[in-house]
């Protein structure tokens, strides 16, 4: 038996009143003068047995009457009372997250869950109120037939979805229904990571988590391109979850770029210098298993030609040597492109600018910066030693630097700082150092980080085409994402396009790499992937998950066929307030008859 208004059960305490009166009547305080008290005493003595029985009967009738009224006020529901089930507000939550595509015994978990959900809907009656909620957060109300048709259209998502959200919405829907019984039927694979954040509800819950252990899963749990732009060299960093070593393949565009075997828990690093140019889609694939959805994970990378660099002698010997090394390594080429020069002699952008060796030239350098549109100026010379911070340059010591002063409001980044002040700043087409690249001023050229930093500055900050500076967007299927400025369309890896408008859009529902286009040119990418947690197929047992979600009023089953019965077993609880009121009325009538019988002289 359950109660819709259990607080009214407190009224049952009133049943103690006749009980106490019965037990305490010998201590009645009121005193009434009655000369014929001896007759009263004799009457009690001669009729004590019948009086006791009558008093006991009256007490029982009154206690039962109050209990029946209290029970009726609490609006009880009784299982097995009546045939079938009473009018029920039932919301079916179907787990169609990516994890339900795992195959077990020749069928996906999703197929089993959908069959169970269908059985629940088929068991509904016209008096029931029905909803269907899915992991993508959609909640649809309708008749049984309408929801059966909707159920047939549901397919597994490409991501984790938000099952707790679907659960909350289902609970809110049934909570507002004006039928006596509320129940939420959940058909899920019981994935722990999907349900960890779910909160308990007050409604009755029936949970199906199919029998059996989840399949052994191998998954690519992360893929990153380092750096995000390749000019053209870069690396694919991947991490694989597997119980043993597993073969992998790295694909860039349509081409297999690398193959290998990854040991358990060993990170995968593949360095590449692809010949493709522009935004490219890549992925890391594993050998297929019973959960193929996470056997591949995608990545987007911008690949460009090596930056063309010209080095001025005014920039110092270290830059010349470093650039020569990059050119020899194929990571840069010599020519009129990016200028590395002292600021006082700089004439064009893009440029890597350093202060002139001669402090006298600082004024000329500032005028040059102003002419080039760089919003920074050299100020006073600082000679106090300082330590650099940022952009991989932590620990670099700085002994001579010019204080950099911001001019105007043009966008700018502080790439590294020294002594709490900007030391290396960058913006559209320029990177500006506050110290000459000379061991007298800084030990930067002597550090191992110098050459990678320079390659990154040339390739990433100064070598990329204007407007293509965005980094790939990582998004879950269907998530809201920001559209890059100027993008007018989005394109799949296969070339299918659709227009975009506004500032935001929903990420595509399918996993993969999608490119933003501006006038047909790829200017950015979004990588749609499920969260890595979706690859963790560890399950909650049905009864424990049911207890988490519904407390004492929950029931967990492991057989799909049992979900419908479990759902409407809760719903089979019929309201018994009316029969209790009838019983109360009969008790009242019996009490009245008993009292009247005792008052009748003929009795």
């Amino acid at each position: 038996m359950s109660f819709l208004a259990p607080l009214y059960l407190l009224l049952a305490g009133a049943a103690a009143v006749p009980l106490l009166l019965h037990l305490l009547r010998r201590n009645i305080g009121a005193r009434v003068e009655f000369p014929a008290a001896r007759y009263l005493q004799r009457a009690e003595r001669e009729h004590s047995r019948s009086l006791r029985l009558r008093n006991l009967l009256l007490m029982l009738l009154r206690v039962l009457l109050l209990l029946a009224l209290a029970l009726a006020a609490a609006r009880p529901l009784l299982r097995g009372f009546g045939a079938g089930h009473g009018a029920t507000a039932a919301a079916v939550v179907l787990d169609n997250s990516l994890s339900t595509t795992a195959v077990s015994e020749g069928a996906t978990a999703f197929d089993r869950l959908r069959d169970a959900a269908r059985a629940v809907l088929l068991a509904a009656t016209p008096d029931d109120r029905l909803w269907l909620a899915t992991a993508d957060g959609r909640l649809q109300a309708g008749t049984r037939d309408a929801l059966l048709a909707e159920l047939a259209r549901v397919s597994p998502m490409q991501g984790a979805g938000d099952l707790p959200l679907a659960f909350r919405r289902a609970a809110a829907a049934v909570d507002g229904a004006e039928v006596p019984t509320h129940v939420i039927a959940i058909a899920t694979d019981g994935q722990r990571t999907a349900w960890d954040s779910a909160r308990r509800v007050s409604e009755a819950v029936a949970v199906l988590v199919p029998n059996g252990d989840p399949p052994a899963n191998r998954a690519v749990v992360s893929v990153n391109a380092q750096p995000t732009r390749w000019t053209p060299r870069g690396a694919i960093l991947a991490r694989v979850a597997s119980r043993d070593s597993v073969g992998y393949r790295v694909v860039i565009g349509e081409r297999t770029a690398a193959r290998g075997i990854a040991a358990r828990d060993e990170p995968i690093t593949v360095r590449l210098a692809p010949s493709e140019r522009g935004w490219q889609a890549g992925r890391v694939e594993l050998e297929p298993d019973d959960f193929p959805a996470d056997d591949a994970r995608h990545v987007a990378v911008w690949i460009g030609a090596p930056p063309v660099v010209s080095t001025s002698s005014t920039a110092g010997a270290f830059f010349s040597t470093a650039v020569a090394t990059l050119v020899a390594d194929g990571r840069a080429s010599a020519g009129a492109g990016i200028a590395i020069t002292a600021a006082d002699v700089a004439t064009t952008l893009p440029a890597l600018l350093v202060p002139p060796d001669d402090p006298v030239r600082i004024g000329a350098a500032n005028r040059s910066l102003a002419r080039l549109g760089v919003p920074w100026r050299f100020d006073a010379l600082r000679t106090a030693p300082a330590v650099a911070r940022g952009d991989g340059l932590d620990g670099v010591t700085v002994t001579r630097r010019y204080r950099l002063v911001r001019q105007g409001a043009a966008p700018s980044d502080t790439i590294a700082s020294a002594g709490g002040e900007p030391w290396i700043v960058g913006g559209q087409g320029y990177v500006l150092l506050a110290s000459p690249v000379d061991p007298v001023a800084t030990n930067l050229p002597l550090r191992a980080a110098f050459l990678p930093w320079l390659a990154d500055v040339l390739g990433q900050r100064l070598g990329a085409p204007a407007g293509d500076v965005g980094t790939p967007i990582a998004a879950a299927p269907g998530a809201s994402i920001e559209i890059p400025a100027g993008a007018d369309a989005i394109e799949s890896e296969s070339g299918a396009r659709r227009a975009t408008s506004g500032d935001r859009m929903s990420a595509p529902a399918e996993r993969g790499v999608w490119f933003f286009l501006r006038a047909g040119r790829r200017i950015g990418a979004v990588v749609v992937e499920a969260t890595a947690a979706e690859s963790d197929l560890t399950r909650w047992p049905a009864d424990r998950l049911a207890a988490r979600l519904g407390g004492a009023r929950a029931r967990g089953v492991s057989e799909p066929a049992a979900l419908a019965h479990a759902t409407f077993a809760v719903g089979a609880s019929h309201p018994v307030a009316t029969p209790l009121l009838i019983i109360a009325f009969l008790l009242l009538a019996a009490e009245a008859i008993a009292v009247r019988a005792s008052r009748s002289p003929a009795a």
Binding site: L21, R25, R26, N27, I28, G29, A30, R31, V32, E33, F34, P35, A36, A37, R38, Y39, L40, Q41, R42, A43, E44, E46, H47, S50, L51, R54, N55, L58, V595, A597, S598, R599, S600, P601, A603
Partner: protein
């Protein structure tokens, strides 16, 4: 009050008591009672023949001289001389239990007030028949004792005795009956007016002693209607004012049992008194005085 207009003996006792004091009301009651009789009581009570007179409609057929009627075809009625030879003693219970009523004062008299009024009316009725009337009042002792007299001043004496106070709690009916036996040396009539909330084991032997002495004994059991039929409600300690007895009970719960018990008690008194040749009459305090007067009058009429 005009007796011809409203017979006081048929009036509600409580309303009647509000109209005048004991003496006045007693006169009204007796006048009303006598006016309701079909024949003259003064003629009927005597046994010594006086004369004949022609029969008139309304005359008692018992006094028709049938021999004359057979011989002369004339209907004549025998007339008798009045003769006073009855000595009656009224024994009135004035114990604490008699000072009780089961309804507000405006609606009902206490048992004692009712009994006193009835005693006064009975005494006046008997005195008007030339009977000697005496009075004994008692509670836990004999409070008043007036020897039977038939003088015209006896009525005043009795009224004065009825006005005397009483201070006891319980009812010592045996002592009162013993006193009555001493007052009435010749065989006579004894009328006990009491609620009979007395010790039965002592009351019955005393009554039996009166009967053995040749007295006519009539017991008027004065009872409030609320004692006859239990009407009190609620939970309470029902306390006897004469004793320390207090019975906790719920009115609704014990009502039926109580009523059955009272019925039994009345039956026991009736059978016990009947067995010894005494008369028992139940008198409820909401009854008009004509009812008990009639019962006592009938008892008087059966005497030779």
């Amino acid at each position: 009050m005009e007796a011809s207009a409203v017979r006081a003996d048929l009036h509600d006792p409580a309303s009647l008591a509000a109209l005048g004091h004991l003496e006045i009301v007693a006169r009204w009651v007796v006048d009303g009672f006598l006016s309701g009789l079909h024949r003259s009581p003064r003629k009927g009570f005597s046994v010594e023949f006086a004369d004949f007179r022609p029969y008139q409609p309304g005359d008692d057929l018992r006094y028709v001289d049938w021999k004359i009627a057979a011989r002369s075809d004339r209907w004549v009625v025998k007339q008798y001389e009045e003769e006073t030879n009855l000595r009656a003693t009224l024994i009135l219970d004035v114990s604490r239990s008699m000072d009780w009523r089961g309804a507000p004062a405006a609606q009902r008299l206490t048992k004692r007030a009712y009994a006193e009024q009835l005693t006064a009316a009975l005494a006046l009725l008997l005195l008007r028949q030339r009977d000697a009337v005496g009075l004994v009042r008692f509670d836990d002792a004999v409070r008043t004792s007036v020897a039977p007299r038939a003088r015209t001043t006896q009525w005043r004496r009795l009224l004065a005795a009825l006005a005397e106070p009483s201070g006891g709690r319980a009812s010592d009916v045996a002592a009162a009956l013993g006193q009555a036996a001493r007052l009435v040396t010749r065989r006579g009539m004894v009328i006990l007016l009491s609620d009979l909330l007395v010790d039965v084991d002592t009351a019955l032997p005393a009554l039996r002693g009166l009967r053995a002495a040749g007295h006519d004994v009539t017991v008027l059991h004065i009872m409030d209607p609320a004692e006859r039929t239990f009407t009190l409600t609620g939970e309470a300690q029902f306390a006897d004012p004469e004793t320390e007895l207090a019975v906790p009970a719920s009115g609704a719960d014990v009502r039926a049992a109580y009523d059955r018990t009272v019925e039994t008690v009345i039956g026991e008194w009736r059978s016990a008194l009947g067995a010894m040749g005494a008369r028992y009459e139940l008198v409820l305090t909401d009854q008009p005085y004509a009812v008990p007067l009639r019962k006592a009058f009938d008892a008087r009429q059966r005497r030779p």
